[in-house]
Every structure is written in C-alpha cells, then in structure tokens.
C-alpha cells in the first residue's frame, strides 16, 4: 500500500478505480482514429501533447510547490532539439524524442541549478526571466534556429495522421505514467517533503536544493517530450512556440485542471486546446473574450479546479 494520503481503508479501492478509469480513458482515446476525421485527430494529438506538458507543470507547481511562468522554455528546447535532429540527423521520431528529452534534462539542470535558490513568487519571476531569455536566444541565433521565421524545411516525419496520433498517444501515456510513478515513488515523496517543510527536510539529511532540482528536471524532461510532439506534428517550430503567452497558457491549464492532481491538468490541456479551436472558428475575434470569461468563472465555481481535491490541510 503506498503511503499517499487516502482516507482509511478505501485507499486500495480508490487506486483500483483510478487505474480502471485511466485504462478506460486510454481505450477510448485509442478508438478516436475510428471516430474522428483527419483534422480533428490532428487537433486531438496536439491537445494531448499540451495536456502532457500541463501535467508536467502540475508536477512542478502542485506537487513540488514551485510555481513556474517559464515552462514553455522546455517546450521550445524539446521542439527545437527534435526539429534539429530531424533536419540534420535522422527522420526517426523516436530518436528525435530521446534527443529532445536529453536536451530538456540538460536545460533543466543548467537553469534549475540557479532557479531553485529562489523561493515562491521570486522563483516564479526567475522562471519568467529564463523563459524570456530562451525566447530571445531562439529568435536571435538565426543560423541554428532559423530566427523569428522559425526552423525552416524540417523533413516530414513520413507518418500519416493516424500513425502519428498513435505515436503521440503512446508518448503521452508513457510520459503521464512516468509522472505518476515518480510522484508516488520515493523521490516524489521527498519532493512533497521539500514543498511542505524545507527546514525539516534539511534536518532529516536531505539536500533540499538537490530535491527541488530533481523536480525541475523531471518536469522539464517530460515537457520537452511534449515539445517534441508539438514539433513533429507540424514539422515546424518558431520562437512563438515558447513565448510567455504559452507559459501562461500552460499555468492556466494546471490551475483549471486542479493543481493537486496530474490528470486534471492533462484533461484541462486537451479541453482548452480543443475549445480554442472551436470558439475561434465559431466566434472569430471574440474567442479570447470567451476564454477570459471561462477563467473567471472557473476560479469561483471550481475552487480546486476541474478535478482537484482539497489536500489534507493542516488543522
């Protein structure tokens, strides 16, 4: 029986239903190619990628207690790594994904090493700085990234819409599974400990900044995987993919979905991407107004987000 917070004996039962629900959702998603046409399947694949990235941010913000406004930098690192690999090394999507994840880990170590020295709102602003510096780097290193017009002539992946959808679904399922395993595993518990009480963690012998850095690396790597999917879907990436608006969007998905969970932000991610496409098609320039209203309504009606539940608050 894992040690996570469950009321009395129903822990085993609830974990079972959660596994069942997860399996049911997976089966349903797997059936999508037979129910949706090419455009909507492509849209759903994009939504799933954003859902995975939102879940990775929830791991950082909700589970790790580290609010970030620069998470799109990892999307960018993953997307550019995959794009450059496709352009110069191999059209194999799996290898591109591995390179993207490695790039995500490296970027997380490089920037996280400094970021974890700050706390709370100042951590939020530090990640904002990292995100913006990443956008400038992508915009200005024209020879490598193609500058503001984006990385041109990335060879097609050779996967048709349905095959790509299977690939995206697999990556998202595995990525999400890794997040859940790590969250409930020993490392995840120490990350929760660092969130709850840093002084006590140090007294127990944990290198607290190291534990927080681990949280940044895990979230960064999974988000980079999502970034690779975003690039592979359209075989295109530009600095706008990692601008502050995207970091804000990811944070909103986490808050809408419920930051104490990982599945909530995943669903909110898919939902928001699909909703944006639907409202933009139907309402033209008014879609942004609808989205703003949605955020305001959700803050009041869903205090813990779509699927969040109040964590066992201190008495």
């Amino acid at each position: 029986m894992r040690e996570s917070v469950m009321r009395g004996g129903d822990a085993r039962m609830s974990r079972l239903t959660r596994r069942l629900a997860f399996a049911a959702a997976l089966v349903l998603l797997a059936a999508m190619p037979y129910m949706l046409d090419a455009y909507r399947l492509d849209l759903l694949a994009g939504g799933l990628a954003y859902g995975l990235m939102a879940a990775s941010l929830a791991f950082l913000v909700g589970h790790g207690g580290l609010p970030s406004l620069g998470h799109a930098a990892f999307l960018g690192v993953g997307a550019y790594a995959a794009g450059l690999t496709a352009k110069h090394v191999t059209p194999n999507v799996a290898l591109q994904l591995l390179v993207a994840i490695a790039a995500g880990v490296l970027f997380a170590l490089l920037t996280g090493w400094f970021a974890v020295r700050t706390r709370g709102f100042f951590f939020l602003m530090f990640t904002l700085a990292i995100g913006e510096i990443a956008v400038q780097a992508a915009t200005r290193s024209t020879r490598v990234t193609g500058g503001d017009n984006g990385l041109a002539d990335i060879p097609p992946t050779g996967l048709d819409v349905v095959t790509f959808y299977w690939w995206a679904l697999a990556v998202v399922a595995v990525g999400f599974g890794v997040l859940v395993l790590l969250r409930d595993g020993p490392l995840g518990r120490s990350i929760a400990g660092a969130r709850e009480n840093e002084a006590r963690m140090a007294a127990l012998g944990y290198h607290v900044t190291g534990v927080r850095l681990a949280a940044v690396v895990i979230a960064g790597a999974v988000c980079a995987a999502g970034g690779a999917l975003v690039e592979q879907k359209d075989t295109f990436v530009a600095p706008t993919h990692l601008e502050i608006g995207v970091s804000v969007l990811l944070l909103i998905m986490v808050l809408l979905g419920g930051r104490q969970t990982l599945i909530g932000p995943l669903i909110a991610g898919v939902g928001l991407i699909v909703l944006r496409s639907v409202t933009s098609t139907a309402l033209g320039e008014l879609w942004l107004l609808v989205e703003g209203a949605l955020f305001v309504i959700c803050v009041y009606l869903l205090p813990n987000g779509l699927l969040g539940r109040r964590r066992a608050q201190a008495a």
């Binding site: 040690e3 917070v5 007294a203 012998g205 944990y206 964590r311 066992a312």
Partner: protein, 245 residues
C-alpha cells in the same frame, strides 16, 4: 563522541554563548539546563548546524563538523527535534516517518521506483509509530501538541542517529504526558543531548547534567551533584523555586 571547544556565538555585542567547552561520551544522556536566556537554544542550534558559531569548534566522532551544513551533519548521524514542532503538515504520520527512514537509506536508483523495498520501509515506519503510540494515517497537521512532539521524536529515531538532540521535547505537555514521555525516552539506547526546562523530565532521563547561565557553563556533573550544588541553586534553582511556590 561530541566535543565542543571554546564555542562562542556573538549577536552584535551580546555573547549569547561564551567559550563553552564540553564533551558527551558514547551512550551518555546529557541534559542542558539553565534559566531563560542562558544560551541553551543557541548552543543547541549550533550543534544541530542551523547556526554558524562565531568562534570555537565542534567535533563529532573526532572530525571537525563546525562548518558542515545541517543536512550533512544529519547524514553523519546527528538527529534533532524542533522546539516548535516542525512537521510535514499535509502528509500523514506514516509519510513523515517514511521520509526520515528513506533519508537514511539514501535515494539510490532503486529508491526512485523502489516498490519492492517499500515493504520493509513500511515495517520500520510502523515500528517507530507504535513506539510513540501514533496512528499511521492521520495528517501531521491534525495532531495535538503532545502527539506532534512524539512524532518529532519518532522521526528523529527513524534516522537511527548516533546522537539525538532533543530541543525542549516536554514543552507544553501536561505532567502526565511528560511523565509518559520521559518513560519513552528512558528506554532509548542512543546518545542523548536534551535541552529542557521541566526538571522532572531532566532528572528522570539525564545521566549527566550541565548548567548554563548567561552563556557560560557554571556547573557540570551527575544529577545528584547538580541538585546538591549551592552554586546552581543560587543562580538557577533559586529563581525556579519562586516559580513553584
């Protein structure tokens, strides 16, 4: 095991701790008492690593640990409790103790997914919780003051320390609770350094007592000698007597 040499802590002009030297042998149960403002908590914090001394050295197992950060001292086997209990409020008692156990076992690769090893960790956690008579599931934030103090000790024990530092564990406890608490402490076999106001607990638990007054050691000896010493009485017990009557 623990040797302090001319340990000093200056806050501006005030010498909170002024050249304290003492040593605690293996298996000893040292109590540190003294009136308020004697520098007990400051000394405790310096030993635990939360405060960097202005002068003097701290030796543990023959190695100078004066500059070592708190988490490295914990790794070497120094565990501590907090005066104002500092727990993982949002996590269950079991999880609080599990974090302590896992800190000792290290976060090796296996620990990332370590479901296999979960079982014996769980057994160890249950052991410490039963020792301190605490239920596994209740969130630490929902515990009473007494229960919180006991969870602190359970977590410190879970680190299987070679030196256990107790910072006023009995503070805020009723006499019945503190008596029960003293019993629980007595049958621990680790080396102990306890800072405590409640003299019943001190004399029940300690094998050796050091008395501090305004940053200096004024007396050092067995509980019996300390009780009998006129010097201690004048400086310390005198004031304590007025409180009692």
């Amino acid at each position: 095991m623990l040797r302090l040499h001319e340990l000093t802590m200056r806050f501006g002009a005030l010498n909170a701790v002024d050249g304290v030297s003492l040593s605690v042998g293996e298996g000893e149960r040292r109590a540190l008492i003294g009136p308020n403002g004697a520098g007990k908590s400051t000394l405790f914090a310096m030993i635990a690593g939360a405060l960097r001394p202005s002068g003097g050295t701290i030796e543990f197992d023959g190695q100078d640990v004066t500059g070592l950060p708190e988490h490295r001292r914990a790794r070497r086997g120094i565990a501590r409790t907090f005066q104002h209990s500092s727990l993982f409020a949002g996590l269950s008692c079991a999880e609080n103790v599990a974090l302590a156990v896992r800190a000792r076992r290290g976060l090796g690769m296996r620990a990332w997914l370590g479901s296999g090893r979960n079982m014996d960790i769980k057994r160890e956690v249950t052991g410490y919780l039963d020792l301190m008579e605490l239920s596994e599931e209740r969130p630490a934030g929902a515990l009473s003051h007494g229960e919180a103090r006991r969870l602190e000790v359970a977590m410190a024990l879970a680190q299987q320390p070679r030196l256990l530092l107790l910072d006023e564990p009995a503070a805020g406890m009723s006499s019945a609770e503190s008596a029960r608490f003293a019993e629980l402490i007595q049958n621990l076999d680790t080396t102990l350094l306890i800072v405590e106001h409640d003299l019943d607990v001190v004399f029940a638990v300690a094998s050796h007592v050091t008395v501090l007054a305004s940053g200096k050691v004024i007396a050092d000896g067995s509980p019996a000698e300390i009780k009998a010493s006129a010097e201690v009485e004048r400086v310390y017990l005198g004031t304590a007597k007025e409180i009692w009557c």
